[in-house]
């Protein structure tokens, strides 16, 4: 039988996958993908805990996480387009302006 811990472990695995993506990616668009993975992992944990305790608060928080993710994508992609127009690349190393 599938219990709460199954879902939480899956959520932790997915969060770790997203975290590995955030750490090893040097391309900004790929970094955005990795953050989406982390947000989704959190949503799975919210839904599972909400189901386990028969408490709707978890699902409510998942809705707000989805709303935050949607606005993050809208603003982030706007910034991404501006960066690409300015530098011609999305490589994080190319944006380094400080010496040291």
């Amino acid at each position: 039988m599938i219990g709460l811990s199954h879902y939480l472990i899956l959520s932790a695995i997915l969060f770790a996958v997203g975290l590995i993506g955030v750490m090893r990616r040097k391309n900004l668009l790929m970094l955005f993908f990795a953050t989406e993975i982390m947000l989704n992992a959190a949503n799975i944990a919210f839904a599972a805990i909400s189901n386990h305790y028969h408490d709707m608060a978890g699902q409510m928080f998942a809705f707000f996480v989805v709303a935050v993710a949607a606005s993050e994508v809208a603003v982030g992609l706007g910034l991404l387009v501006i960066l690409f127009k300015k530098y011609g690349t999305l490589d994080l190393d190319a944006f380094t302006v400080m010496k040291g």
């Binding site: 039988m1 599938i2 811990s5 199954h6 879902y7 939480l8 472990i9 959520s11 932790a12 997915l14 969060f15 770790a16 996958v17 997203g18 975290l19 590995i20 993506g21 750490m23 090893r24 990616r25 040097k26 391309n27 668009l29 790929m30 993908f33 990795a34 989406e36 993975i37 989704n40 949503n43 799975i44 839904a47 599972a48 189901n51 305790y53 028969h54 709707m56 608060a57 699902q59 409510m60 998942a62 809705f63 707000f64 989805v66 709303a67 935050v68 993710a69 949607a70 606005s71 994508v73 809208a74 603003v75 992609l77 706007g78 387009v81 127009k85 300015k86 999305l90 190393d93 302006v97």
Partner: protein
Amino acid sequence: MITFAFYFFAVLITLLFLVTVMSKNVLYAMTALASGMVLISGLFFILGAEFLGVVQLLVYVGAVMALYSFAMMFFDSNKDVKEKNGSAATVFMLGGAIAVMLVLVFTAPIIGEGVASLYPTAAGATTNTHAVGLILFTKYLVPFEVAAIMLLVAMIAGIILAGKKMDLSLSTTEEDEMPEVIEGGDK
């Protein structure tokens, strides 16, 4: 049956997200991410959160992925992404250590068994969608309105950021006759 469905979804989601993280091609990464999101909504349906599953399908697979694919058209997506990576062993060790830590953090309250439901399911609700509506428009009304304002602000920000000098074409304009796109740059 539910056991099979859970493992089916879990394995596929993990594999697809690994493709997203490891792939060098933006198109492959985005397709894998979109399919992973669809399968995650399957998990939500198993968990009895039907409305959340539908929202996941509509918002993530419908809106967010469409935005990403629009953004991808600005960039050269056929070219493999060149990335200079440091030591892979360090990254995997850090990721693994954090995964172990997360499992410990998540399982600690279950071992403690000290958690009780503070706000049970809305009384008189027949379906999940009914309960979501009852709670969202009573207890969570203020956060709901604030989220609406946040989305409006994000929409205006997106329009202003991406829409600036939209009439300039990056692909047909030559490099030397391209005017300075962003004022107040690093010069």
